[in-house]
Amino acid sequence: MPDTWTEQEVLERIDKIRHRKPTRVRDDFINMAHGAGGKATHTLIEALFEPILHNPLLAQLGDQAIFSVDGVTLALTTDSYVVSPIIFPGGDIGELAVNGTVNDLAVGGATPLYLSAAVILEEGLDIPTLTRIVESMRRAADRAGVAIVTGDTKVVPKGKGDRIFINTTGVGVVRQPGRLGMDKVRPGDAVLVNGTVGDHGTAIMIARGDLDLEVELESDTAPLHTLIDAMLEAGDVHFMRDATRGGVATVLNEIARQQDVGIAVEESAIPVRNEVRGVAEILGIDPLYMASEGRLIAVVAASDRQRILEAMRQHPLGEQAVQIGEVRVEPPGMVFLRTAFGGTRVIDMMIGDPLPRIC
């Protein structure tokens, strides 16, 4: 590097490097960060899974794969749940496993139809707990209007699992193919969120009891498909993604990076519960990186944002819907925040693993 480089030139060079897709996983071993949904997870997917399994559908790296069979457009998604503790304020692993997969279908504009459920049970799990979890899967499925139509059961020796892991796969039908997609995101679009961010991640962390903090907070796990129906009816939605692992910050970075747009966020507009803010302050974690399980980020045409927001606020899961930012041309590939203090800062992908096993 020549000594004469200016700060601006250094930053531009760094940005070029950031824009490159990772070509190899630099770590020698899997560590917890690879499962946290942040940068390490992306590197693992983009540099290992995607190149080896490569096909045009997978290459889109969406929450769901969308394809047509005999003139019908279907969406397919899968997700595994390893949350600890398995029962937490506001829900349990069973409800989470249904809602999460329903939401991954719904944010793609699909009406969820059928789910599969594969459970990995650890030797010694008590039957009443298992019964409770399966019952809450049933309730969540009924609420979402889906049926769990196939499944699998495996048991591993004590110590080789952690009570119960669940995988759910979901299939849905896409009523308006091609309407939603990350490639529909345009500079000028408004960025909306349907409620307070970070409730789930914080609730799980508190439920573990490691922190000796007393906070009354419930997970926000919920199926979002009817809210999404209302939004799609109200106006021109371009793209949606649920803000799970890695939080709002990660979703926004995924959009900025893949579409090479800038995203500006107004800190004071982001709804965060006082309980979540308090915990985040104490632990030095940004609520923007905390997971939600019933929140989505929607990128919508600016001209329709008011109508869509009003439709969201009519729905119980969107009462606190609000615009938090907008898409712009500059700076490409980057998310930045206007702080409530009047300064600005970058919001990057999550590094490392502040909160393991939240979903």
Partner: protein, 384 residues
């Protein structure tokens, strides 16, 4: 949120900044924030965007993770790899690269490394696992040292013999003195550390004002604390004063915390010398366990290599820690060295100047040149 939002008021900050600009006039001022917590606040809230351009903030050596030399990291990893050990540390420390991987890598390869939020949590783990040896990697300045001391006192009182501490506690005054003696740094004043001062008080900085004729203002960690601290330093300079002042009165008592100081005295002794990353060996700058706590001293209980390891050649953490280089001026900043794949410690801790600048500040400096950051107004939930 109460007791937080008051200290982040944009309008007050703007008004204080106007006053700072008036005091500064045409002259440029270089002010060092000693503490990494301040560096974090400065970048997280974009304080440089709020201050007038005549004020340059220089980031100092007060980031606990950043100053740990690589040899000590290797020693920690060697203990962690000892069969049967539960090794506990703060989260940041797990990602610090040693000469052969980090604690996180050791964990992935089978070492039982656990993150804790307090040394007392480590002691609890020891009590819950009486058949295992539990080691706590203690780092930090006088801020965290009292909690380590308290934990050791409790371990002794409750006779928890399967617990020990790998002590890397350091003290704040010796590196400040080393910086002031260094010829390549010209500073106009110091923002003094807040939480360290809550323990030691503000008198230990008297020499900075008396001997080196630089003002010191001990400040808190909210953005308005920093802005007010800068104002107080400029006020001193323009009035020809040179004193140690306390802006953080809601937490810091001038005399410090006598109870905390007493238990530090009871548990720790000064090491004759200790290596600091980038700053080299500084005499009487670190703490070790007193002889009566030898049964809980991990350095005595376990074989550690104890070898001094040179920093990677490309790494310029030392220059960054001394405030001589801005993070972006380091040759590997943001290219070979990123928060995901750090080469130097400054890129690991959120209090490290490089990590704070990379994660938060990478764009705002450049943006000051354009108007790309002016947002179109966003309506609120109620204002629809």
């Amino acid at each position: 949120m109460k007791f937080v939002d008051e200290f982040r008021d944009q309008e007050i900050a703007r008004r204080v900044s106007v006053e700072i600009a008036k005091l500064a006039g045409d002259r440029r001022y270089k002010i060092m924030e000693v503490c990494g917590g301040h560096t974090h606040t400065i970048y997280k809230y974009g304080i440089e965007d709020v201050l007038p351009p005549t004020i340059e903030l220089v980031h100092g050596p007060g980031c606990p993770v950043c100053v740990i030399p690589m040899g000590r990291v290797d020693d920690g990893i060697a203990i962690a790899r000892t069969p049967g050990i539960i090794f506990t540390c703060f989260g940041d420390m797990m990602r610090v690269p040693g000469s052969d991987g980090s604690l996180l890598d050791a964990k992935a390869q089978g070492a039982d490394v656990r993150m804790v939020y307090s040394p007392l949590d480590a002691l609890k783990i020891a009590q819950k696992n009486p058949d295992r040896e539990v080691v706590f990697l203690a780092i930090g300045f006088e801020t965290t040292a009292p909690s380590t001391a308290l934990t050791l006192l409790r371990a002794r009182a409750e006779k928890v013999m399967n617990f020990s501490v790998f002590c890397n506690h350091v003290t704040i005054v010796p590196p400040m003195k080393a910086l002031l003696d260094s010829p390549d740094l010209k500073l106009d004043g110091f923002l003094g550390p807040g939480h360290v001062s809550a323990v030691v008080g503000i008198r230990p900085y008297d020499f900075v004002a008396k001997v080196y004729h630089k003002p010191v203002v001990v400040v808190g960690f909210e953005p308005l604390d920093i802005v007010q601290g800068v104002y107080m330093i400029l006020k001193q300079l323009t009035e020809g004063r040179c004193e140690v002042e306390n802006q953080y009165r809601r937490v810091v008592v001038d005399e410090g915390n006598p109870q905390a100081l007493a238990i530090l005295q009871q548990v720790f002794a000064l090491r004759p010398h200790f290596e600091w990353r980038g700053l080299g060996f500084i005499s009487q700058s670190a703490l070790k366990l007193r002889d009566e706590f030898a049964p809980w001293d991990a350095e005595l209980r376990y074989e550690v290599p104890g070898v001094r390891v040179a920093d990677p050649k490309a790494c310029q953490c030392g220059e960054v820690l001394k405030g001589v280089l801005k993070p972006w001026e380091c040759k590997v900043f943001g290219t070979a060295c990123t928060p995901e794949t750090p080469i130097g410690t400054c890129m690991v801790s959120s209090e490290g100047a490089c990590a704070a600048y990379y994660n938060y500040g990478r764009f705002s400096r450049a943006a000051a040149r354009g108007d790309v950051l002016k947002l179109t107004p966003v309506e609120s939930a109620t204002g629809a």
